[in-house]
């Protein structure tokens, strides 16, 4: 086979993969051109799909099934009794007002953090993708934006303590330096405010990154065409850039929402034990030990996340944009 033939074969292969992906995902209505060349045998297809499938089965599906199973098993003083089915865990949770309040708080917190991440992340992504002209500066600045990720997760959380604490930087500044307050503000730390602040700092990058890539790969000629047809800069943004960047925003929302819903360490450390999330509650039940109730809490959390993501996908019609 000459190198040209090899190239041709590779091209055909790539085309077919795209088509298969399209048909799997429901496909676009674009006419699919029939391609010539050898069909891939089922065995080869299986070989391609196997690693991902095995990974998902082992590390996503299996643990999920495990959690759901444990959630309906009977609690014992040391753990649980397998295959003794009961809904005790769920009943316990729904009869505990704290759990439902915490679930509500967790959802609200996730929504607030997601909203703030859009407000803060979008302008950053926009500036990086469209404000910075040189590719070199763009990459340099993007790496700079990623800098917090060079620091370990817990360290980033703990770093807030000397900033927000009673004897922290902000209180010192307010009381000692400019003296606008006689007493330090306690609510800076161990409060919902502090948790949300820390969560936004932690997760805003998950919003910036997808929006950045969406904006950076945006078709410039569409923007030029809009200007040519008389659109003002505000109209170009409103009519072209914003709608075309929404898939990135949506992906960012899914990341941030799901991550914050499952948050546990930040709430524990910055909330100082007084503020709970579903994550910390589950952890508390786990330590009791009341594994079935912990598992029931986790199951409900996963269900709520799934519903949240489903709602996001439903209302965004993501496939129509991209």
């Amino acid at each position: 086979m000459s190198s040209d033939d090899a190239k041709h074969a590779a091209l055909e292969e790539a085309k077919r993969e795209v088509e298969e992906a399209e048909s799997l995902t429901g496909g676009s209505a674009v006419a699919v051109h029939a391609t010539t060349g050898p069909r891939r045998t089922p065995l080869v297809t299986l070989a391609w799909v196997a690693p991902g499938t095995i990974w998902l089965l082992l590390f996503l599906i299996a643990p999920l099934v495990m959690i759901v199973l444990v959630s309906v098993w009977q609690k014992t003083p040391v753990g649980f009794e397998p295959f003794a089915f009961t809904t005790e865990g769920y009943t316990k949770l729904f009869q505990t007002p704290v759990y439902l309040d915490t679930l509500k708080d967790t959802i609200i917190r996730a929504l607030v953090v997601t909203g703030l991440c859009i407000l803060i992340g979008y302008p950053i992504a926009y500036f990086l993708a469209r404000g910075v002209k040189s590719i070199r500066y763009q990459i340099a600045l993007f790496v700079f934006v990623l800098a917090p990720f060079w620091v370990a997760y817990v360290v980033r959380i703990v770093a807030w303590l000397p900033v927000l604490g009673r004897q922290g930087v902000i209180n010192y500044f307010l009381v000692e330096v400019i003296g606008v307050r006689a007493e330090p503000i306690d609510a800076l730390l161990y409060s919902n405010f502090a948790i949300i602040l820390a969560l936004v700092q932690l997760y805003v990058l998950f919003m910036v990154t997808p929006i950045f890539f969406q904006l950076a790969t945006l078709d410039n000629s569409a923007i030029e065409a809009a200007r040519d047809l008389g659109a003002t800069p505000a109209k170009v943004f409103r009519e072209v850039i914003l709608p075309l960047s929404l898939p990135g925003v949506l992906i960012g929302c899914i990341f941030v929402f799901v991550l914050v819903m499952g948050e546990f360490a930040t709430v524990r450390l910055i909330g100082g034990g007084t503020i709970q999330s579903v994550g910390t509650l589950v952890y508390d039940y786990y330590k009791l030990p009341d594994l079935p109730t912990a598992a029931a809490g986790a199951t409900i959390l996963v269900a709520v996340m799934t519903i949240g993501v489903a709602i996001l996908l439903r209302f965004s019609k993501i496939r129509e944009v991209v």
Binding site: E224, R227, D228, L229, A231, V321
Partner: protein
């Protein structure tokens, strides 16, 4: 308004990019209203830059651009009575065909009912009424092309700029769209300025062709003028099917000039100074191929390498002392001439068919 002012006028236009890269040099051109002008040239010749300057997407480093006497330098694209159909169409992927076409009017503040009525008329004009609610990705290349056209037509520009409008289409569709575009332009009577690197496309569509090369205009003329009388070697080579001879002018013969070339003497209408370099071009279809003796002037001995059957003619790939030489003969001669493949034949032409090229 005098005739000299009406239409589009480019006067002494230069465009120099940072790093002293001269993209467009000394362009002077007058496009009449309602004309179909095609900018033709290889990539990097400055044709797209010229188009962008006309559309307002780039500014001349010096020189002026006027439309109906009005200076366009520094005027924003949207404020010019001209719109661009971008290469690859640049449709808004998230908007329907109707919304795409109505966009320009929406930006002008035309109310919804009115702009949709006008957009529908434009969509009807390009024959896409049934596709009105589709998204661009649900259309074929040719249909997307028509949406792009309707989108600019609806704003009623004085001129439309088209950047490689047929480049994304397959050959059959290209042929069809050539005719459609040309018919549409005649029907509307507005100026079309079209950029392409495809000489066949230029010849088939243009009222006038502007051949650009090395940042300058090489020649402006009707398709016939360019095909028959390329001014210089660049145009002759780019228009294709031309054989070029280089040599030294040895003298005059009446109204003709005689050039000594390494392949023999050639005589061509025109004048020249003896001792100066001279070049001439002869079109492939003016070359006669025979087994006669080689004439003293305007004739060469060549070897027939390959006879290529083109359906309506036969293209002969000839070898002239190691250099390619081309002739085209009527299709009827295919069988007869194939017998000479690999053999020597005589190529000759009439004095009036050749023409002198500018140095």
């Amino acid at each position: 308004m005098s005739d000299e002012q009406s239409g589009l006028v480019l006067k002494d236009v230069f465009r120099v990019f940072p790093g002293d890269v001269v993209a467009v040099s000394d362009v002077n051109l007058h496009v009449q209203n309602g004309e179909y002008v095609v900018f033709l040239g290889p990539s990097g010749c400055g044709k797209t830059t010229t188009l962008r300057m006309i559309g307002g997407h780039d500014d001349p480093s010096s020189g002026t651009i006027t439309i109906d006497g009005e200076l366009m330098n520094g005027v924003a694209p949207a404020q010019r009575p001209i719109t661009t159909v971008f290469q690859h169409y640049a449709l808004f992927p998230h908007k329907s065909v109707l919304q795409n076409v109505a966009f320009g009017l929406k930006m002008q503040g035309v109310d919804k009912a009115e702009r949709e009525a006008q957009a529908k008329a434009a969509i009807d004009l390009v024959g896409l009424t049934k596709m009105m609610d589709r998204k661009p990705r649900e259309l074929s290349g040719g249909q997307q092309q028509r949406v792009a056209l309707a989108r600019v037509l609806v704003t009623r520009p004085k001129a439309i700029l088209l950047d490689e409008p047929l480049g994304d289409l397959d050959r059959l569709l290209q042929m069809k769209m050539r005719v459609e575009l040309r018919a549409l332009q005649r029907e509307l009577g507005i100026t079309f300025i079209h950029v392409t690197h495809n000489q066949e496309e230029a010849l088939s569509m243009a009222d006038r062709i502007v051949v650009m090369g090395d940042a300058v205009i090489q020649q402006v003329g009707t398709p016939e003028e360019l095909a028959r009388h390329p001014r210089n070697e660049f145009v002759a080579k780019f228009m294709g099917d031309n054989n070029v001879f280089h040599g030294t002018v040895s003298g005059a013969n009446g109204g003709n000039v005689v050039i000594d070339t390494p392949h023999g003497k050639v005589e061509v209408t025109g004048s020249g100074t003896a001792g100066q370099p001279g070049s001439m071009a002869i079109r492939a279809n003016a070359v006669k191929v025979s087994t006669d003796a080689v004439p003293a002037v305007n004739g060469v001995k060549v070897r027939l390498d390959f006879a290529e059957y083109l359906g309506d003619s036969v293209k002969l790939h000839l070898d002239l002392d190691g250099q390619p030489f081309m002739a085209k003969v009527p299709e009827e001669r295919y069988t007869e001439i194939r017998a000479y493949e690999g053999k020597d034949v005589t190529a000759s032409w009439a004095i009036e068919d050749g023409h002198l090229l500018e140095q």
